[in-house]
């Protein structure tokens, strides 16, 4: 099953940990908020994606089966 990353924009503070843990899919914008590459995550990236989700101090990042 394909998984993509979704951001809860109200919760997100732009701390930037996710971009450090998953630079293949997440880059910070000019204000430090994550720009998520919406392409589905291959199995090779899933462990890092899960780490990024777990590392978010505001619990703003999640892995979702579809959509944003």
């Amino acid at each position: 099953m394909n998984q993509t990353l979704a951001v809860n924009w109200i919760a997100c503070d732009g701390r930037g940990l996710c971009a450090e843990l998953l630079p293949e899919r997440i880059t910070p914008d000019e204000w430090g908020f994550p720009v998520v590459d919406g392409h589905p995550m291959g199995p090779d990236l899933l462990p890092d994606a899960r780490r990024a989700v777990a590392a978010c101090p505001t619990l703003a990042l999640r892995l979702a089966a579809t959509g944003r």
Binding site: W9, I10, A11, D29, E30
Partner: protein, 427 residues
């Protein structure tokens, strides 16, 4: 306030013939015109939903979502809640205020039918702070004293801000919080007011419901288009002879809508449809377009909540756009980073273009910022703002070039699009 002409008698369903007088139609007059509402129990939930489905009624608050689908989704859950949403945030829109001021009983009848359709025993009337609060409160009490309504709605008000009528903001407010959008999912029809499935319907949609249940879905379909039946209220403003609210069949051409408002004052440069989350259309192309989803979608626009603003060649579209984006930036709920940072940056850049700042790269910067805020918020405020801005850069492209060369075609600097000074979000 409202503009009426001979044609109105044919097409107006909701607005009274003497709408221009601004006079409230009281309960006695209301029942004389429309007859008493069907007694409680006379219509089953299934019957109401079937009528709405056959009529093809869609939401008149902006999104145009089919009402029958919403009714079914909410009815499927336990202890549903129904909200009549009269908090129109668009400064250029006045149709909900006009409707509530003139025919509140139509809206309240519709609210009862919606409650019956989904099996709700809890209902709210949600309006902006202002004169409507006292008026609606008194009308609700009158009906309660007469025992007209099986469900007596509670009246709740919110500060008059652009986003306070957004569905999840309504739910937040009714739950005792601020009138600010919440993170999605879940959608409010699954989990809304105190976590119950919640039907939020625009007040105009409810008024249409009250009439179509009285008169039948065939009658409802006798106006409008096959795909988008019925009439709609339009707030027409800008360079027209008589600013105000007109009721027209869905699919009426923009030129006919402008004619209903007394016609364009001057030479038409552009038309804004759908409000500040809507899109500019070039005047020449706009006139023949029908005001419907199907008619406007190919042009990147939608009727939204029926806002139509005419801009004459006297006024600078770029200056108007920059001022509105500045307003929209201030109206951000300030909850989501990209919106909180991106909209003010976009407003600042557009402001420099409007002031004929000739720094290279300003237009490219606006496009870059648009890309950065789009789809990166809890609500559609950034997306709607981006649509408005992109359409402006397209429709006023020649004016942008003139500004970059230090010129401007405008001869009249007076503001056309209203931008009230209200506070924005949570700050």
């Amino acid at each position: 306030m409202s503009v009426l002409c001979e044609e109105t008698a044919v097409t107006a369903r909701l607005l009274p013939d003497d709408a221009a007088s601004g006079r409230l139609r009281d309960l006695a007059a209301h029942q004389q015109v429309f007859g008493a509402p069907a007694p409680a129990g006379a219509l089953t939930s299934t019957a109401i939903v079937a009528m709405v489905e056959a009529a093809g009624l869609t939401g008149r608050g902006g999104a145009g979502f089919p009402m029958a689908r919403k009714l079914k989704a909410v009815a499927a859950g336990g202890s549903p809640v129904v909200v009549a949403n009269g908090a129109e945030g668009e400064p250029a829109s006045s149709k909900d205020k006009v409707l509530l001021s003139l025919v509140p009983h139509l809206v309240l009848d519709g609210l009862q039918l919606a409650c019956r359709a989904v099996g709700a025993t809890e209902a709210y009337v949600y309006v902006h702070e202002g004169p409507l609060v006292a008026m609606m409160s008194s009308i609700i009490s009158t009906r309660a004293a007469l025992g007209i309504d099986p469900v007596t709605p509670k009246l709740v008000s919110a500060p008059a801000r652009f986003i306070s009528g957004q569905e999840s903001a309504v739910v937040s407010r009714l739950d005792g919080g601020p009138a600010l959008p919440m993170a999605v999912p879940p959608p409010v029809y699954l989990k809304g007011v105190h976590k119950s499935p919640t039907l939020v319907q625009n007040v105009e949609t409810l008024a249409h419901l009250a009439l179509l249940v009285r008169r039948g879905s065939g009658w409802f379909r006798s106006a409008g288009t096959e795909a988008e039946p019925g009439t709609m209220l339009c707030s027409v403003t800008g360079a027209v002879a008589h600013k105000g609210v007109v009721e027209t069949p869905v699919g009426t051409s923009i030129s006919a809508v402008l004619e209903r408002a007394g016609g364009v004052d001057g030479d038409l440069q552009a038309v804004l449809v759908g409000g500040y989350h809507g899109a500019w259309l070039p005047g020449s192309a706009a006139l023949d377009l029908p005001l419907s989803l199907a008619g406007l979608r190919p042009h990147g626009a939608t009727p939204g909540a029926g806002v139509v603003v005419a801009l004459s060649t006297r006024t600078c579209g770029l200056v108007e756009t920059a001022r509105v984006v500045d307003y929209l930036a201030a109206q951000s709920a300030r909850q989501c980073g990209p919106c909180l940072n991106g909209l003010p940056a976009m407003a600042e850049t557009l402001g420099r273009l409007a002031r004929r700042d000739r720094t290279p790269g300003l237009v490219e910067r606006v496009h870059q910022l648009a890309g950065l805020v789009e789809r990166r918020g809890a609500c559609h405020h950034p997306d709607g703002t981006v649509r408005f801005v992109r359409s402006a850069l397209t429709v006023f492209a020649a004016e942008v070039d003139r500004h970059l060369a230090g010129g401007c075609t405008a001869t009249d600097r007076a503001a056309v699009l209203p931008t009230p000074r209200t506070r924005g979000g949570a700050s």
